[in-house]
């Protein structure tokens, strides 16, 4: 496992979350969570169902606004930004329930993932020939590299909705990668996959981390996978962070064991 690369010198966090809380009509989904994700690492967030993992991720990607606290990305509070502004800063994510553009081809899904890197406006789009075309070609190339990377080349012109579940998840990863993110948020990337698909996905996640040095935050239920690939793990329970550390540290933490066995409280 590529510990050597990710455990490199720490020059400030890629993402830090400071005392973030979120309430939904009186229910405290996330309560004062603070943590920091280092550059280039694979950071897993685990916890029982309803622990607030996805809510936290949703706040980072801007879908929810935190009620309290700050989310710092590149020394900038992004807690109040709109999702599309956050995406422009270089944060990409995948969804727990696949949210592909089903009618579009795999390639178009990736091109959409690259939306923030393109500049064409309405007029050049209507005209097409000229700058818009040049831009399309330039970025198509990059998307093709990702298609090649994810071994999707024989599917590039297949509508995403027609693909098998595992492949759709892969395409979604591709769509997130297409924006050349510096921070990649993966919400249960392996959920619902069979063993083989999981292994493939693990491979791709690791390759992304290695090849491009992308910082990866992932939520995952498969403990085996989490412990295998993450550099560090944070554990949430009932909206609060109860533990954080390397996989081994977390595994040994009695609070984590309690939360998972449900004996506490």
């Amino acid at each position: 496992m590529p510990d050597g690369i990710n455990g490199g010198p720490d020059d400030g966090p890629a993402l830090s979350v400071e005392g973030v809380s979120k309430n939904f009509g009186g229910v405290r989904a996330v309560a004062g969570v603070s943590t920091a994700v280092r550059k280039g690492e694979i950071f897993a967030i685990i916890g029982p169902n309803g622990a607030g993992k996805t809510t936290l991720l949703n706040m980072v990607s801007g879908f929810y606004k935190p009620d309290e606290g700050a989310i710092l990305f590149r020394d900038r509070d992004i807690g109040r930004l709109k999702p599309n502004e956050i995406a422009e800063l270089g944060i990409a994510r995948t969804f727990q329930n696949i949210a592909l553009f089903r009618g579009l081809t795999v390639l178009d899904n990736l091109m959409l993932g690259r939306h923030v890197r393109l500049k064409s406006g309405v007029f050049s789009s209507l005209l097409y020939w000229g700058p818009a075309q040049k831009e399309e070609i330039r970025h198509r190339r990059r998307c093709e590299e990702i298609i090649d990377f994810l071994k999707l080349s024989d599917l590039r012109k297949t509508p995403a909705g027609a693909l098998a579940y595992g492949l759709q998840k892969r395409v979604e990863l591709g769509r997130a990668l297409a924006s050349d993110p510096t921070l990649l948020l993966l919400d249960e990337p392996m959920a619902g996959m069979n063993q083989e698909e999981k292994e493939d996905m693990v491979r791709y996640v690791l390759d992304v981390s290695i090849e491009w040095g992308t910082t990866i935050v992932l939520i995952e239920h498969d403990m085996g996978v989490v412990m295998d690939i993450s550099d560090r793990v944070a554990v949430l329970d009932m909206g609060e962070k109860i533990s954080e550390g390397t996989p081994d540290e977390v595994r040994a933490d009695p609070k984590v064991i309690q939360a998972y066995l449900g004996t506490a409280h």
């Binding site: 996805t54 949703n58 879908f63 969804f95 727990q96 329930n97 949210a99």
Partner: protein, 301 residues
């Protein structure tokens, strides 16, 4: 504005309230369907029209008594709406709302052709046994229009009836469950499709009654369908899924229309009557899209 008469103002308001309640009656059918099936019925006006035409045709062409004509019309609407739900709306469950809107727009066109095709294109009178003479109360110039009064009373009775139905009766409670979540209801063993059909049946009955009341006001032919356009401001102002909202929305629309015609028209020299509720509606959409009594929809990823 120079000469403001309280009496005139009151008359406008009172007649607006009555008319508004009659609008509510039409809008009720719309809300019933939306509340229980999430479907949007742009053909509500055409339902009213077809029901009215049937009553008119039964009475004029076959000389049936009013009650029998109404019964036949209600019967037809029930059968028609059950068939409609089976063939058109059920296959469209789960499709985008836009598709259902368009389907009912298509249905509206079909009904506008089918009404005269089957029942003749002439205009017929639909006279209720009510005197036209105004009821003038006291010496305050307040006058009540008997047919408006009847319509308003019928509307209120209906609205109260449905309010009770949804709150108290078992079927009504089940329907509300269906409206809240189709999946959950199915899991609870509620036959969702039966309740969908029931909603359409109830909408058909309401439309039939609306057809009688509005038909007696306007006469019956395809033109009766234009009443359907009044539905939208009513439901948007009141809230799409609220029966109280329908009453309040209807009253707002009726009163605002009347006040606009009474006070705004002379100032701008144009018919602002139908236009003001729409402006009001737009404002409502901008600032409180789910209406006065509607539930907002929460989005999730």
């Amino acid at each position: 504005m120079a000469d403001f008469h309280w009496g005139f103002f009151l008359e406008l308001v009172v007649s607006g309230v009555l008319i508004g309640l009659m609008y509510s009656l039409i809008a009720l059918g719309f809300v019933l369907i939306y509340k229980s099936t999430d479907a949007i019925n742009f053909a509500q006006g055409e339902f009213v029209m077809i029901a009215g035409i049937i009553v008119g045709a039964c009475m004029a062409s076959y000389g049936l008594p009013l009650w029998l004509a109404i019964a036949l019309s209600v019967g037809f609407m029930v059968v028609f709406n059950v068939g409609l739900e089976r063939t058109v709306l059920r296959p469209m469950i789960g499709r985008p709302i836009v598709a259902i809107i368009m389907a009912t727009i298509g249905l509206a066109a079909l009904l506008r052709g089918a009404g005269p095709f089957f029942f003749g294109s002439g205009t017929r009178a639909l006279n209720l046994p009510i005197d036209d003479a105004p009821i003038i109360i006291g010496d305050h110039f307040i006058y009540l229009n008997p047919i408006h009064l009847l319509g308003a009373v019928a509307a209120v009775l209906f609205l109260l009836g449905f309010g009770w139905f949804f709150l108290k009766s078992r079927k009504g409670v089940a329907m509300r469950a269906v409206a809240d979540s189709h999946q959950v209801s199915m899991a609870m063993g509620i036959n969702v499709q039966r309740y969908f059909a029931l909603a359409w049946v109830m909408a058909g009955v309401v439309a039939a009654l609306g057809g009688v009341i509005w038909g007696s006001l306007l006469g019956v032919d395809t033109q009766l369908a234009v009443i359907g356009l009044k539905v939208f401001p009513v439901v948007i102002l009141g809230g799409l899924d609220s029966i109280v909202g329908v009453i309040v929305g209807g009253i707002i629309v009726g009163v605002v229309e009347n006040l606009a015609a009474g006070y705004l028209d002379p100032m701008v020299g144009g018919g602002t009557k139908d236009f003001t509720p729409y402006v009001l509606m737009i404002l409502m959409l901008m600032f409180k899209p789910y209406g006065l009594f509607g539930k907002p929809i929460i989005e999730r990823i």
